[in-house]
């Protein structure tokens, strides 16, 4: 049982003066302190959180209206620009960076009274699926500390399962919210591309970066998404929110058409993972859904598309870390070129360098057409196949990852093996559709999520089906 009430109830009690924001913040900070050994948290924002809680309690006492998230503590992945602590993106090169402004989503949450209490661990710059690429050490799995918690939003996911806060923010570029949610057992929601502003979030790959939500229930996730979603003048890729909002969704399975993705239920996928998905599909049928098998023949190519497009965008986005305008700067450079070379060579970790070089290669003249242009064209093929599938069904389902949480160090010697763990999450990212990981069962004593996908902009319906699937467990 969680120590946290559902978010809507928690905020209502703070608004009514029945619970104090100050107590909630202390409860969150105490839990964070008690669970230090898992290394989910890089730093707390304790001082600022206590100040904000005090002013919310004072406002309630004075009868001033407080927001829909009054006093609700949350944890942000350390690639969100937040006041009150450094924003490192899990990297050495950004150590000591104090954000001069806050991310749009942080502002929107704070305007409704939410209180950020801590910054969560991640693979540096979001590059990875295990937090083993964090320059602050790996985040350990809550059930087995020899295993990873997934990534890159591993710290955020673990913070939910260890009950540190009612919700946490992650980012999802190719699975970074869904995969850790599957590994540790919570809701991990990736919205339609552009639904939630990325302004003030450290950029990784701009054509697939999204803001993810990690929560204990689909209702909690929907409540928070309702506050964050919609256009932002500081992020030109943002889209209009659903006029119906994202809360109060129905959770009915009756008459829904669901496609189980054939290409993701093949050999190479852990039997226990497949069994979880099959069981959920059976329960969906029993609850009145029509479940059919759907084939998307180009899906096996998605990972190759992703590992061209994303490094290309990373090499561009990470060119801003030049050692001149902020954070790590090599102190003994004799000229500007040496300052660039050494600041970046020393400041970036191995995975960032690997991706920058792959990106540089695929974008270089002579190779651009063969790699980058080719990948973006196969991306169109994937989009077409998903569009065709959604003409036949309302939702697609499948595994989130081919295995449950793996052992720390298991893929350390082979970056390509690590990339293969992303094979099921990258396609929805490339296509821009919303996708959620919902706890579905266990394999080898470890949590396994089911991935549920809907067409672009069908986030409201997807949150409804996620809630319905939650109801099928038991």
């Amino acid at each position: 049982m969680s120590q946290w009430l559902p978010i809507a109830e928690l905020a209502a009690k703070v608004q009514a003066g029945e619970l104090k924001a100050t107590d909630l913040v202390e409860q969150a900070l105490r839990t964070i302190d008690e669970k230090k050994e898992y290394n989910a948290i890089i730093a707390t924002t304790a001082e600022r959180a206590r100040e904000r809680a005090g002013s919310i309690d004072a406002a309630v006492k004075n009868g001033t209206k407080v927001g829909r998230l009054a006093g609700v503590p949350f944890i942000a992945k350390d690639n969100f620009l937040v006041f009150g602590a450094e924003t490192t993106a899990g990297s050495n090169i950004l150590k000591g960076f104090e954000a001069p402004y806050q991310a749009t989503v942080i502002e929107r949450l704070e305007n409704e009274g939410a209180i950020c209490v801590a910054k969560a661990n991640l693979d540096a710059f979001g590059h990875g699926g295990s937090t083993e690429n964090s320059d602050f050490g790996v985040t350990k799995h809550p059930r087995d500390t020899n295993r990873v918690s997934g990534g890159s939003s591993g710290g955020s996911a673990v913070s939910i399962v260890l009950d540190m806060a009612p919700f946490a923010l992650g980012t999802d570029t190719g699975g970074s919210t869904r995969q850790p949610a599957s590994f540790v057992g919570c809701i991990g929601y990736k919205p339609t591309y552009g639904l939630i502003s990325r302004h003030g979030v450290v950029a990784m790959a701009s054509s697939t970066d999204t803001v993810g939500t990690l929560a204990r229930s689909a209702d909690d996730a929907a409540y928070v998404i309702d506050i964050m979603a919609g256009r932002d003048q500081f992020d030109g890729t943002t889209i209009e929110r659903d006029t119906a909002g994202y809360t109060g969704v129905g959770a009915d399975m009756q008459g829904k058409k669901v496609g189980i993705i054939k290409e993701w239920m093949t050999t190479g996928v852990h039997d226990g993972v497949k069994a979880c998905i099959d069981t959920i599909a059976e329960k969906m049928k029993a609850a009145g859904a029509e479940v059919i098998e759907i084939s998307l023949p180009s899906l096996p190519l998605a990972l190759a598309v992703y590992y061209i497009v994303v490094p290309a965008e990373i090499s561009s986005n990470l060119s801003r870390y030049d050692g001149q305008r902020y954070q790590y700067s090599y102190p003994d450079a004799k000229n500007l070129d040496e300052s660039y070379m050494k600041s970046r060579g020393i400041g970036f970790g191995a995975e960032a360098k690997r991706r920058i070089m792959i990106g540089t290669y695929v974008l270089s003249s002579g190779y651009y057409d063969a790699y980058y242009n080719r990948a973006q064209t196969v991306r169109t093929k994937l989009i077409n196949e998903f569009n065709d599938a959604f003409k036949q069904v309302d939702f697609l389902i499948g595994p989130v990852a081919p295995t449950p949480a793996f052992k720390i160090g298991e893929h350390a010697s082979d970056p390509l093996q690590m990339y293969l763990a992303d094979m099921m999450t990258v396609a929805p990212s490339l296509v821009g559709i919303p996708s959620v990981s919902v706890p579905s069962g266990e394999a080898d004593g470890l949590p396994v999520g089911v991935q549920i996908m809907a067409p672009q902009r069908a986030d409201r319906a997807l949150l409804g089906i996620a809630k319905a699937v939650e109801g099928l467990r038991a």
Partner: protein, 97 residues
């Protein structure tokens, strides 16, 4: 097709302004070659009649009014995080000769 040499890797690192050692270059040579060989499977895909996609929600030429927006952030806030500065300017190493 892609079988990188140590010199290829050093050239890539140089283009990307990353100072790496020869030992690092040898490790990256194998890793990057494996990754590039993996992604080469795209050459087999039939993409007849298809155009590349870079923006997935169909937005084009997003405009906004040409107004000064108040971020609540001042030039001094931005200067506070600069590694080396002189007065109110960012100081960099000499770049010519």
């Amino acid at each position: 097709m892609a079988d990188l040499t140590r010199d290829d890797v050093l050239k890539l690192a140089r283009l990307a302004r990353l100072d790496i050692t020869d030992e690092e270059a040898d490790a990256y040579r194998t890793e990057l070659t494996n990754i590039l060989q993996y992604v080469e499977q795209l050459q087999q895909a039939d993409v007849t009649g298809l155009q590349p996609t870079s923006q997935v929600t169909g937005l084009t030429n997003v405009m906004r009014d040409d107004n000064v927006l108040d971020y609540g952030t001042t030039p001094d806030d931005l200067l506070r995080i600069v590694p080396v500065k002189q007065d109110r300017q960012i100081k960099v190493k000499r770049m010519i000769g």
